[in-house]
C-alpha cells in the first residue's frame, strides 16, 4: 500500500514538474502568413548581459594597430559575431565571436571539418588553438576558452598575403583580450 502511494506520488510529482513550466501567452493567435511570418518578435531584450556591447572588447585603434600596423578600423557587424574592416597598409577583415554556450572541442571539430589545420597553443595560460587554411596562407584564426563562459575566436583575413606569421595578429588580439580580463 505504502509502495503504491509512493509510486502514485512520484507520478503526480513528475507530471506537476513538467506541467509547471507551461505558461499562457496573451494575444490573438495569428495565421502563419505566406512568408512564414507570425506576428512581432516577443524576445525579452532584458535577459542578455552585455547586449549591444558584445563587440566592445578592444578599442578600434588597438585592433587597427595589431592587424595593420595602424590605419583605421570600422565596426561593420555586431552581436555574438562582430566584424571590423581595417584600412591601413593593407585592407584586413577581422572577425570576433563570443559563443557563450560554445566549447573548444566543437570549434576545433568544425574547423577541421571545414578543411582548416589546427594546432593547440596556450595564450595567457588559457588553452587555445590556431586554425589555418592550406590554400589561403595569409589567413589565421585563434580560439580560446573565455574566462566568463563559452569561447572566444578571432579571425584575421588580410586581402593580400603579407610576409610573416599570419597567426601573430590574432594571437596578440586574444592575448590583449584575455589579459584585459573580461
Amino acid at each position: 500500500m505504502r509502495r503504491t502511494l509512493a509510486l502514485l506520488a512520484a507520478v503526480v510529482l513528475g507530471l506537476a514538474v513538467f506541467a509547471g513550466c507551461a505558461r499562457t501567452v496573451d494575444g490573438e493567435p495569428l495565421p502563419v502568413g505566406a512568408a512564414g511570418q507570425s506576428g512581432t518578435s516577443d524576445v525579452d531584450t532584458d535577459q542578455f548581459d552585455r547586449l549591444l556591447l558584445e563587440c566592445e572588447v578592444l578599442p578600434d585603434e588597438t585592433i587597427a594597430d595589431v592587424v595593420a600596423g595602424g590605419g583605421f578600423a570600422e565596426q561593420s557587424f555586431s552581436g555574438a559575431i562582430c566584424r571590423w574592416l581595417v584600412s591601413g597598409n593593407d585592407t584586413v577583415s577581422v572577425t570576433f565571436n563570443w559563443f557563450e554556450w560554445g566549447s573548444i572541442n566543437v570549434e576545433k571539430e568544425t574547423a577541421k571539418k571545414l578543411g582548416f589545420t589546427t594546432e593547440n597553443i596556450k595564450i595567457a595560460s588559457q588553452s587555445a588553438f590556431t586554425q589555418r587554411s592550406p590554400d589561403r596562407p595569409g589567413l589565421c584564426g585563434v580560439t580560446a576558452r573565455a574566462p566568463s563562459r563559452g569561447v572566444f575566436t578571432w579571425f584575421v583575413e588580410p586581402r593580400s598575403a603579407p610576409p610573416g606569421d599570419p597567426c601573430a595578429a590574432p594571437i596578440k588580439l586574444m592575448e590583449l583580450l584575455l589579459r584585459g580580463g573580461q
Binding site: 518578435s41 577583415s93 572577425t95 566543437v106 570549434e107
Partner: protein, 295 residues
C-alpha cells in the same frame, strides 16, 4: 589504436581511481556503443561510452585513445562530452540524502524513516513541488547585475546541423539570389562568409553567420533594438526571426537549431534603394538553401 575501456574512463577523469573504473565495468555501469562492457573491452576513436557515475549518466565520444592520466586540458581533448546537463539544484535538493560518514541507518532510524514516509512524505512532496514550480518563475531577481536572467543552453553547443562552408551556398548563387552584381568574397572563416560589391562595405553586402553555442534570443534582441521591424518567422518547420529596415536597406533572417543558429544578413546599396521585400525575399531564399543543404 585501441585502449582498455577501464583505463580510458579513468584517464579522461570520469572515475577518480583506476580501480573504481574497473569496478564500474564489472558492475555493469559502463556501456560501449550500447553494449555492457567488460573492463578489458578495447575502445577506439568514434566509440560512444556511457558511464553511470555520481548519480548521473555521462556520455562521451572517444576522439583519441589514452590509457594514462594526463593534464586535465589535455584529457579534455581526448573526448567529446555529450552528457545531458545535470538536473537543476532544486530537484537535487529535494532528494533525501544522508550525511557523509553517518553509515547505514540504525533500526531505530529505520522505524523513524518508515513513520516519516507514511505520514510526512506528502508534505515534503508539496515542498519539493513548490520549489520546482518556483524555479520556473521569470520574476526571480537576478543574482548578478552583469548577468541578468541569461538563458541556459537548451542543448550541447554544435548539436545543430553542419552547415558547411558559407552555409552551403556559392558566390555565384548569392549573386543570383540577391541580384547584387560584382560581389566578391571578403570574409571566409569557420563562422562567417561575407560577400561585398565594393570590397569596402560601401555598397551591397551579404553574409552568412553560423553561431555554435549562442542563444538566438541575443541576436534577435540585437536586431529588434536596431531595425524598424522584427517578426517571428518559420522556414521548413524551423522557427526564428526576420528583421529589416527600409531606410537602411537591410534584412536579416535568423533560424534556431537548439543551442546553435545561423543568420543571413543582406544589405542593399543605399544609393540605389529597392523595395525591402525584395531584399527580405533574398534573405529567406538563402536561409532555405542553407537549411536544405545542411547535414
Amino acid at each position: 589504436m585501441s585502449t582498455r575501456v577501464d583505463a580510458y574512463i579513468w584517464a579522461i577523469r570520469l572515475t577518480k581511481t583506476r580501480s573504481a573504473a574497473g569496478a564500474a565495468c564489472r558492475g555493469g555501469h559502463v556501456r560501449v556503443n550500447g553494449a555492457t562492457a567488460k573492463p578489458a573491452q578495447p575502445v577506439v576513436p568514434g566509440d560512444e561510452i556511457r558511464v553511470w557515475v555520481n548519480g548521473r549518466e555521462r556520455i562521451v565520444e572517444v576522439t583519441k585513445t589514452i590509457s594514462k592520466r594526463v593534464s586535465a586540458p589535455a584529457a579534455a581533448e581526448c573526448y567529446i562530452d555529450k552528457s545531458p546537463p545535470p538536473p537543476p539544484k532544486e530537484i537535487i535538493a529535494g532528494q533525501p540524502r544522508r550525511d557523509r560518514g553517518a553509515g547505514r541507518p540504525t533500526k531505530r532510524e529505520r522505524r523513524q524513516l518508515d513513520r516519516l514516509r507514511s505520514s510526512g512524505f506528502l508534505i515534503s512532496l508539496v515542498a519539493v513541488l513548490a520549489l520546482a514550480l518556483g524555479a520556473c518563475s521569470s520574476d526571480d531577481t537576478p543574482s548578478d547585475p552583469n548577468r541578468p536572467n541569461t538563458p541556459e543552453a537548451p542543448a550541447q553547443a554544435g548539436s545543430g546541423p553542419f552547415f558547411g562552408r558559407c552555409g552551403g551556398v556559392t558566390l555565384e548563387e548569392v549573386v543570383r539570389v540577391t541580384g547584387f552584381t560584382g560581389l566578391s568574397t571578403t570574409v571566409d572563416n569557420t563562422s562567417v562568409c561575407e560577400w561585398d560589391t565594393t570590397g569596402s562595405r560601401t555598397g551591397a553586402v551579404a553574409s552568412f553567420n553560423w553561431y555554435r553555442g549562442s542563444p538566438i534570443g541575443r541576436e534577435e534582441a540585437n536586431v529588434k533594438l536596431s531595425r524598424d521591424e522584427t517578426n517571428k518567422l518559420e522556414i521548413k518547420g524551423h522557427t526564428g526571426f526576420i528583421g529589416w529596415s527600409q531606410s537602411g536597406q537591410i534584412c536579416e533572417v535568423g533560424i534556431d537549431f537548439g543551442a546553435d543558429f545561423f543568420e543571413w544578413s543582406i544589405r542593399g546599396d543605399a544609393r540605389n534603394p529597392r523595395p525591402i521585400d525584395e531584399i527580405c525575399n533574398a534573405a529567406r531564399e538563402l536561409a532555405t538553401m542553407s537549411i536544405e543543404r545542411a547535414s
